[in-house]
Point group: C2
Chain length 173, copies 2
């Protein structure tokens, strides 16, 4: 569930999303709420966390886990302390801990975190919105991976704004 | 009219297209012939040229111009000498030369050449097929550009193979 510029970026180098926010998506349902309903927990990096904090309004109803070695619990605003936890666990260990807590569907957000979960082959499916813009540089959603990852296109939806929502399943060998 | 892996590559680093050829696109019409009919001339770099030569069968009916400083006319196989010319002209100069010859719609093929024409803001529209695979590294279709390039989504088509054909217009400021 990431918005990506056609040239593959999820944010500018400074994590800003102005290029995304200027799209005329008002009134469009990109399924964010339905998607969030379908997961048990949301995982993101500290960069995405700071960006979301900057929105002012907290958009998540599900528990959020922030992967960070630099942040501590005290860095989480008081009103979010029952909603957000900080962890230093690596992807495999985190997924194991989630399983023990009964969290089965995990939503991975943010370029660097998605890439580390992809490398650990822990991503089962992905929803990507392709935004009709080239921004030239920034944070990529995909990075050098270990060989090919075959995907299966599950669905596609086109919006008046020019955004396209794609759902892929990761094929397992 | 380029096929791009979801992670933004048009070829592996050695110009090979095995990841594209393994897609089950048999019987699908990705509009290549109709698209070719709509242009006056095809431009590509020496990497794409060598790849296409490797196909055995020459797929183009329109004149092809290869941008290269290393190739000479003698490097063009004899049976293609009336169909292929080599040039060292830069994008702007080449477009001017085309205009003088009455070539109005120019089809730009190949990562490096597309990028140089994009930089010179000489691309009016683009057709991209998104291939359901991540290949991790290779030759990108888009590279660091000068700032944002806003696009308008013109059309979208989904195929049983999982390829998606997208047509964008480049918005001019």
């Amino acid at each position: 569930m990431m918005a990506m510029s056609l040239d593959g970026f999820v944010a500018r180098s400074d994590h800003t999303l102005d290029w995304l926010e200027k799209q005329a998506t008002e009134g469009e349902d990109h399924g964010f709420e339905a998607f969030q309903e379908s997961v048990d927990v949301i995982v993101m990096g500290s960069g995405s966390f700071r960006t979301v904090l900057g929105f002012g309004e907290w958009p998540y109803v599900k528990p959020v886990v922030v992967l960070s070695r630099s942040l501590a619990s005290e860095d989480v605003p008081e009103n979010l302390r029952d909603k957000v936890e900080i962890t230093t666990l690596k992807p495999e260990a985190l997924m194991k801990a989630f399983a023990e807590r009964g969290f089965q569907r995990v939503y991975i957000d943010g370029g660097a975190v998605i890439r580390s979960f992809m490398k650990a082959t822990l991503i089962a499916d992905m929803k990507i919105s392709i935004v009709p813009i080239l921004i030239g540089e920034g944070i990529r959603i995909f990075d050098d991976s270990r060989g090919d990852t075959d995907l299966e296109l599950v669905s596609i939806e086109k919006f008046p704004s020019g955004l396209i929502d794609l759902v892929y399943k990761v094929k397992t060998a």
